[in-house]
Amino acid sequence: MKKTGKLFSFITFLFALFFLYGISFAIDAKTDTIKLGVAGAHSGDLASYGIPTIHAAKLVIDKINAKGGILGKKVELLVEDDVCKPEVAGNTATKLISDGASVVVGHICSGATKAALGFYKEAGVIAMSPSATNPDLTLSGNYPNFFRTIAHDAVQAQLQVQFAIENLNVKKVAVLHDKGDYGKGAAVLAKKYFIQKGVEVVLFEGVTPGAVDYSAIVTKVRHKNPDLVVWGGYHPEASKIVTLMRKKRIKTFFMGADGIKDNSFIKVTGKYAEGVYATGPRDVSKNSLNILAKKEHQKAYGSDPGTFFYAGYAATLALLNGIEKAGSTNYDAIVKALRTEYVETPLGKIRFDKNGDATGIGFSVYKVENNVFLEQKIKK
């Protein structure tokens, strides 16, 4: 036993030695190419949200490299998977950093983005997400290195409230959510703005995703008799609740956010989807770059682009434009360029405000009519 004790103290000593040496260690990243990282969920159940962004980045980079790159250097793509899990996102971020990425498109999920941003911030890497909508990411001021090409949930919630009051003339609302990061966040914001506008929130509750039955909550909705049910969450649960509500002959308005503004919502819900409201990114399908990007995607992958493709496309363009305008991969220069220089993207001509949110990107309200989402105009 004595020997083991000595051994341990020896090892401890070695540790101390190596550690002191290690603190003063620095990196030297090679810079013959400009490295652009793409991080997000590329496998697992949320892969369908992450993969379109890879496609977008590839298409943009191929086009730019074909023209000779930027600043005389080729752009190199680094793709890393984070499965949308915060604990994995940290590893993904360090991988990209140690591979020398100077800018990153990603991450996809808000939670994973939050986990990764701390690493990027310390390493002086700029991240631009096509899909993370948590308001805190930009509004909290904690992440000066973060930008996004999607409007955040607060914008959406305000729009929902405005629409509900102006167009639907509601007095009482029920706010339901799926207890998830995205869903509950959106629901909390909606509730806040409804109360600010003097609308009574009669019910604010979460349901368990994957539960066998939602009749209790539906019954409660009937009991409280609101004019509108606002849903925070993704479309599978929304579809279950709408279906059950309609089957139980409850005709209350139903409104969700971009989590349900998805064609699968209509396909899954079928006839019960009629009349459901949803907010989603403003329709930009008539933008010329948008049409071009869609064509490129069809040519390269033989299918229509998936979710967040255009936002990913825009993010890649904006980042590369920023580097070009900055003239280097210097962190401060790029940030400055992103905030001042406009860039043409499939989402329109955008620039970033001091928080990191893109200007000129907005939301619209849609209504399901005859199995399609139709854009609605807000009454003034």
């Binding site: 159940d45 368990t208 994957g210 209790a216 019954t219 409850i250 899954v268």
Partner: protein
């Protein structure tokens, strides 16, 4: 108004209870015979629903009449669930029984099986929610009451009662039922009396899987969509129900399911559905601490 609210919640709870019951029956039967918490039982239920969905899509493509589709896909789903239940027992539990492994090993093996089957379906099919065809149309005669209880809910309630009656008959009055009861009381004696235990256990798994498959299809109709994870949450809840009623006892499982379904429904209705699951688990913990044998279970004495 308030009385109406109560009625709605009551029927909601009843539906939920019968859903739990269909799954809980399998848990309780298997536990009664081999004293094993078949953690993967929820997965059998999920496989039942998936098989039903797949077969019905294929048949729809072939253009069969709706009634034929419903009957055929339900039958196939039941058959496949039974086959999976049977195979699972042979792979994950029988070798352990043969080597007299501790009960903990069997439980770990069951967890492994559950994980395996979930990911098997995830990889072979999809992680997305798939809409389930509406097997149960809105009955016209039921229209006046549809706001209280939808047609699928009505069918679920009736089916649960039928399944329970059939099971009771099976166990009380048939030869295999007698063998099951014998095995559950004393395995060694049952062998000496000429009962083929392996056969009895296999049949128990098959019957349990069949009820799970029926449950799977009905719930898929009720909810309207399925995914690979549906078995886990439902399975855990059903297990809570089975324990609540006294695991090993068939009337206990049904009673426990209704009690759990109703209390959950009332809890969600009068308090909040935020903490609905917390409540269910707390309920389980309290039951196990204060009355481990459940409502209808027998207290056991340990042998030294």
């Amino acid at each position: 108004m308030d009385f109406d609210f109560l009625t709605y919640l009551f029927f909601g709870g009843l539906t939920r209870g019968s859903i739990y019951a269909l799954i809980a029956l399998g848990y309780t039967m298997v536990y009664g015979i081999v004293e094993l918490i078949n953690f993967a039982h929820g997965e059998i239920y999920m496989i039942g629903a998936f098989t039903g969905l797949i077969i019905s899509s294929v048949l729809t493509m072939l253009g069969l009449p709706i009634l034929a589709i419903v009957v055929l896909s339900a039958l196939t789903a039941i058959i496949y669930s039974c086959a999976y239940g049977y195979t699972m027992e042979k792979i994950a539990y029988k070798p352990l029984r043969d080597s007299n492994a501790p009960r903990l090993s069997a439980l770990i093996s069951a967890i492994g099986m559950s994980l395996f089957l979930q990911n098997y379906v995830l990889l072979a099919q999809t992680s997305d929610f798939l809409p389930f065809p509406n097997f149960i149309p809105d009955f016209e005669f039921w229209e006046p009451y549809a706001h209280i209880l939808t047609s699928p809910e009505l069918v679920i309630l009736i089916t649960t009662v039928i399944v329970m009656i059939c099971l009771t008959i099976l166990i009380k009055f048939t030869k295999i039922g007698k063998a099951m009861r014998a095995t559950s009381q004393d395995k060694v004696m049952a062998v000496l009396m000429g009962v083929n235990i392996n056969r009895v256990i296999s049949i128990t798994f098959i019957v349990g899987s069949a009820t799970a498959a029926i449950g799977g299809i009905l719930i898929a109709c009720h909810i309207g969509q399925i995914n690979f994870y549906m078995g886990f949450t439902a399975g855990i809840k059903a297990f809570v129900a089975a324990v609540l009623g006294g695991i090993g006892s068939i009337p206990g499982a049904v009673l426990g399911s209704f009690v759990l379904g109703l209390t959950e429904s009332f809890f969600a209705g009068y308090f909040s559905s935020d903490y609905e699951d917390v409540f269910a688990f707390l309920f389980l913990v309290l039951i196990l601490i204060f009355r481990p044998s459940g409502i209808l279970g027998r207290a056991e004495t340990k042998k030294v």
